[in-house]
Symmetry: C2
Subunit: 91 residues, 2 copies
DNA sequence: TGACAATATTAGAATATTATAATATACTAA
DNA sequence: TTAGTATATTATAATATTCTAATATTGTCA
């Protein structure tokens, strides 16, 4: 991991909505898009776009189960970083 | 601290150069601008601009000592986050 | 004071990010 | 197959970030 790699993780977490999503996943374990849409009160498109950014940075992964895609946190560094954040942020 | 506050800290650390600066300060304790310029091989203006971003986010503070300004990490959350990063990044 | 050293600020072009709106894709069940 | 549900993608306008080059500020010392 070089500085660029590290800063990419920080960058992925540098948006309030992505931070909420990632933090939620840390504590809930998994979540699907529509549930995030409801919980976070943002449009489906916006949630999906931000999920994509988290996905591209390697922080989360999606697993399809029939009609639904479950997202999970899949990055140890991100998990460690998120543990420094107060819980009440997360749902 | 709300999600926006947290994400600002991440944002400040989301650039490779700022991450190097902050990580350097974590481990060296303090540093002045010209030393950073030499160590990081970037222009004085660029270093100064990025220091300003770190300063505005409340991650670092500068203390003048005559002609020189010493920068220090002054944020507990940032310090905790940076401790999750491999040391060899830091000088 | 004037010259110099250390640092900050500004302007501007190039590029990246963000949110909205509209549309597309993938799967399920009837 | 068709309708419906869940999610992804695309285009676009607005805004923000980044870097470079030039200039300004602040403090020291002769």
């Amino acid at each position: 991991m070089n500085p660029e790699d590290y800063s990419e993780i920080f960058k992925a977490l540098s948006h309030p909505l992505r931070l909420k999503i990632a933090c939620g996943l840390l504590h809930k374990g998994k979540c699907n898009v529509n549930t995030m849409v409801e919980r976070l009160g943002e449009s489906q498109s916006l949630i999906s776009q931000h999920l994509n950014i988290l996905k591209k940075s390697g922080i989360i992964k999606g697993y399809r189960e029939g009609n639904i895609i479950w997202y999970r946190l899949e990055n140890e560094l991100a998990a460690k970083l998120l543990k420094n954040i107060e819980l009440k942020l997360c749902d």
